[in-house]
Amino acid sequence: MSEQADDAVDARLEAHRCPNGHLTYPGHPRCPECGEPQVEAVDLTDRTAEVVTWTTSTATPPGVREPNHLAIVEFDVAGDSVRAIGQLTTDGVAVGDEVKPVYAEQLRDPEAGIRDPESQEWDGFRFEPV
């Protein structure tokens, strides 16, 4: 199996939970809600989410696809909700649509923007209509 294929298999979209049950994506050193350390990861990779809002950006920075379809989506985790932002795999998505995470090796060209390519990861999950 190639290294890239390994990345796809290993990749997880994870929310983070503190002892008081607050969920966030991404994680933080302390829970923004109550200040407790976040101690648990919750795998969202195989779940579906609902589109909260969306946009299509046509004036994108260097290294970003154009047009760039984006959405804020909300996952339901046993009655608790957690939101994420990400690219959409397609246009034509509406508020309330159900979507699932789909892994992408590279979401934008790390070499083209102002941020140091080594400072963060560039793979992640787009959202695809179910």
Binding site: P26, T55, R115, Q120
Partner: protein, 384 residues
């Protein structure tokens, strides 16, 4: 505690300028000192509001450069960076320096040089304030505006045209501002038919990329009276923050930093939203003027769009908003914008706003950084 006065104010022409950041800061700084009749060697503290002179131009250390260029040594100096709200944060720093009695004469100069960069490059410099999980998806500030406008129109059944009317209003006001980048009216159809930038928002829903600088001179009210009778008083100010990661906010149509900073500023000034006669809001995108008009308490949540539709916020309305033309028409040189908002309120309170003049005794400026990540609300009043 003695009240803090503003005895001098200036702003350069906003737009595409030949000068670089040092030139722009010096232009506004010298004009502000001339306005007040204060010598450079009387300055004790000098604050420079600026987001990204290093990233845009490769020039860092600009506070010390400005001190030297103005001949204000040995004044204490520092840079204030709070992204787009650097100007408001600079007002806060300048107020603190005088209110704490650390300085009896504090100059604040805000500025940014941006137009030598392409739109994509400038957008990327600004988007670098985002969290890595946002940045890697190519999320920009305009795309946050599109996401939020979509949610707002959906949640409150507001017509798309109401956002376009913000642009029409502010462009109308900008015609009468000699410092504005765009002194040209636009009609509703022009806004609604302009190219899509971040659906549902179009080109005319967005402020331009701008070069420019603005300055204010602060001192205790007792000192102000030694120089002039024409000064204003800072009666309320507060800064507040919201989440860095924008999607972690419970309601995407609420700007928590605006709610909290205005609550504290009203309390300090012993004023409420009903007392405000004129306001400068951070209309980097048309949707932001509507959201702030609600979160400052001028309108109920979900009703701000009606204020625009019904003409409440036009220059001859009950609450004129962005008589300067706002960021939308006047332009948005990041670090200068919050200072220029207070410049407009200062001019209005002194009765020196020319054709833009409205009847006012209490003015408010709301300066927003990121997408509501950092906010400063300032209340100014006449000296009487």
């Amino acid at each position: 505690m003695e009240r803090v006065a503003i005895i001098g104010a200036s702003m350069t022409e906003f737009g595409q300028r030949d000068g670089w950041i040092r030139d722009l800061l010096a232009e506004a700084g010298t004009a502000c000192l001339d306005d007040a009749g204060v010598r450079p060697d009387e300055i004790e503290h000098l604050y420079v509001s600026n987001m990204a002179s290093g990233e845009f131009e490769g020039q860092t250390g600009i506070p010390n450069a400005l001190v030297h260029d103005l001949g204000a040594m040995p004044a204490y100096t520092q840079r204030v960076d709070q992204t787009s709200s650097s100007g408001g944060a600079g007002i806060y720093a300048a107020w603190q320096s005088v209110a704490s009695e650390a300085s009896e004469m504090t100059l604040l100069v805000g500025g940014e040089k941006m137009t030598h960069r392409t739109t994509g490059e400038a957008t990327d410099v600004i988007a670098s304030l985002t969290h890595p999980v946002e940045y890697k998806h190519g999320v920009t500030l305009p795309s946050f505006a599109g996401l939020t406008a979509q949610a707002y129109l959906d949640a409150y059944d507001a017509p798309r045209e109401s956002l376009a009317r913000v642009a029409v209003k502010n462009h109308r006001n900008g015609v009468d501002n000699p410092h504005a980048q765009f002194r040209k009216e636009v009609d509703l159809d022009t806004v609604l038919e302009s190219p899509i930038v971040a659906d549902p928002l179009r080109l005319y829903d967005f402020c331009p990329i701008t070069d420019g600088s603005a300055a204010l001179l602060f001192c205790p009210e007792s000192v102000a009276k030694e120089y002039t009778d024409d000064y204003t008083v800072l009666t309320g100010i507060a800064g507040a923050t919201d989440t860095h990661v924008v999607h972690e906010r419970t309601d995407p149509t609420v700007m928590g930093g605006v709610v909290e900073s205005s609550r504290q500023a009203y309390e300090m000034a012993d004023r409420g939203p009903e007392d405000v006669d004129v306001a400068e809001l951070h209309d980097m995108f048309t949707i932001l003027e509507v959201l702030q008009s609600e979160d400052l308490g001028f309108f109920e949540k979900g009703e701000g769009w009606r204020g625009v539709e019904e003409g409440v916020t036009t220059r001859d309305g009950d609450l004129p908003v962005n008589t300067s033309g706002g960021l939308k028409s006047k332009g948005h040189p990041l670090g200068a914008s919050g200072v220029a908002q207070a410049y407009e309120i200062h001019q209005q309170l002194l009765g020196e706003a020319g054709p833009r003049q409205v009847d006012c005794e209490v003015g408010l400026a709301c300066n927003v950084g990121g997408f509501g990540n950092c906010v400063t609300t300032t209340i100014l009043e006449g000296a009487a």
